[in-house]
Symmetry: C2
Subunit: 255 residues, 2 copies
């Protein structure tokens, strides 16, 4: 049994609380938040507190607060030599106060408060300074059915950049498609199955091998036609730059 | 019952043949291909031919060949005033010879020959010069359980541009993520659930509302950090341009 004290009341903390409660290998000893009203609806399920001085002993303290509050709250914890982790994708492990045994427990997924989340599909990026603490994190990941990856603070930085491409920039591609559809009275719904298929395809195939379309074919005629059709200068610049990126990736000459 | 003659033996033709065979409202009268050996394995299921002069009467002739062969084969058809469509996303309806009643039957999805395809999830973009012919296409779409959209030749051109963004450019975002992971010894698998979630999210939410991340938050600190981390000049240029695109979309000032 792994005992946990949870700190924070945002999306990640709330999702974690729910998934921890569903595991018989985890017991949430206490849930802390600065403003107790944000977690008071859970008071029948777990002991809640808004006072750091009342925190109980536990195997693991999970700080799931905004990045800029991590260092303050970890300093304010009235104990030392206990295992304390944060859940941030961008904050360094070293933002945790050095009086603790430190680690990171970063679930890589985009969380929204409303939607139910199948936590078993969320990859956990784990880091710990001590071997035994890393084992605790791996045990925790297993207890909630998640895949665990060992990711250092340095790697986590790059992972966040990679996630900006895979998530935010991908979503902006959808947005531009949406704009082009709207400007031409085409229902964006027409593209939704293609968008889903594109994401599904790379679950089992590398993005390199999954690539299709005019750029990878070296189809200059189509690229030229498309650049003529696009009126918006920024969309045109994106079309050109990403076409160049694809031809370069696939060792073709510039179109 | 809709009777169909299918022309061509590529991925689209093969997928169409299979889905037509599964419907009791459709009968494939004949399957033509220039090289008969490519369809000879289907000779017990359908009458096959490599001779245009032997083509039989049917409600609909579907030309599923490469774009540059559409006009040649439609001219070579030894009849007139019959309903003839092509399946291309880019070719104009007017590439079909004017002796025919013309139309387009364009399934918008990325087809690969091996993988099984759930055709009910493929949107069909339909166009026809005559109202009754359009009804035939809509009936055909219904018979195979597909959603049908009325899309003109002009709209289809823009739809293809939109699909390049939603499919090829999106896939290149995955590729760049993959490169960043590889360069930093991170398993790309960590990002796969996020990629799938990003595509699923916009099935019910507009890409505008679905956007998250440093650019839409106006988080200059993170953007600056990321630009410092990225060494590859082309990746850096893409990061900058797409960040600009997101801030512009969301009415924020340039980061």
């Amino acid at each position: 049994m792994i005992s946990i004290v949870l700190l924070g009341a945002g999306n990640v903390a709330t999702h974690l609380f729910k998934v921890f409660q569903n595991s018989d290998k985890i017991s949430v000893t206490q849930w802390y938040n600065r403003h107790i009203n944000k977690i008071s609806s859970y008071q029948n399920e777990v002991q809640i507190t808004d006072s750091l001085s009342e925190l109980k002993a536990a195997d693991l303290y999970i700080i799931a607060v905004s990045d800029d509050a991590i260092s303050t709250i970890s300093e304010a914890l009235p104990f030392q030599d206990r295992f304390v982790v944060h859940t941030s994708g961008t904050a360094s492990l070293y933002e945790l106060d050095s009086k603790h045994r430190r680690g990171v427990f970063y679930p890589l997924q985009s969380f929204s408060k409303d939607s139910e989340m199948d936590f078993t599909k969320v990859p956990l990026c784990l880091e710990a300074l001590l071997k035994d603490d890393f084992k605790t994190l791996k045990g925790l990941a297993k207890a909630i059915g998640c895949k665990a990856y060992k990711v250092s603070t340095e790697q986590r930085r790059y992972l966040h950049v990679a996630a900006v491409f895979a998530n935010n920039f991908t979503n902006q591609m959808y947005r531009i498609s949406h704009e082009i559809c709207e400007a031409n009275q085409i229902e964006f719904d027409v593209l939704k199955p293609l968008i889903l298929e594109t994401a599904k395809k790379i679950q089992n195939l590398s993005p390199y091998r999954a690539q299709t379309g005019p750029a990878v074919r070296g189809d200059k005629t189509t690229v030229t036609k498309h650049l003529k059709l696009i009126q918006n200068p920024q969309q045109k610049a994106i079309y050109q730059l990403l076409t160049d990126s694809i031809t370069e990736t696939h060792g073709r000459k510039k179109l």
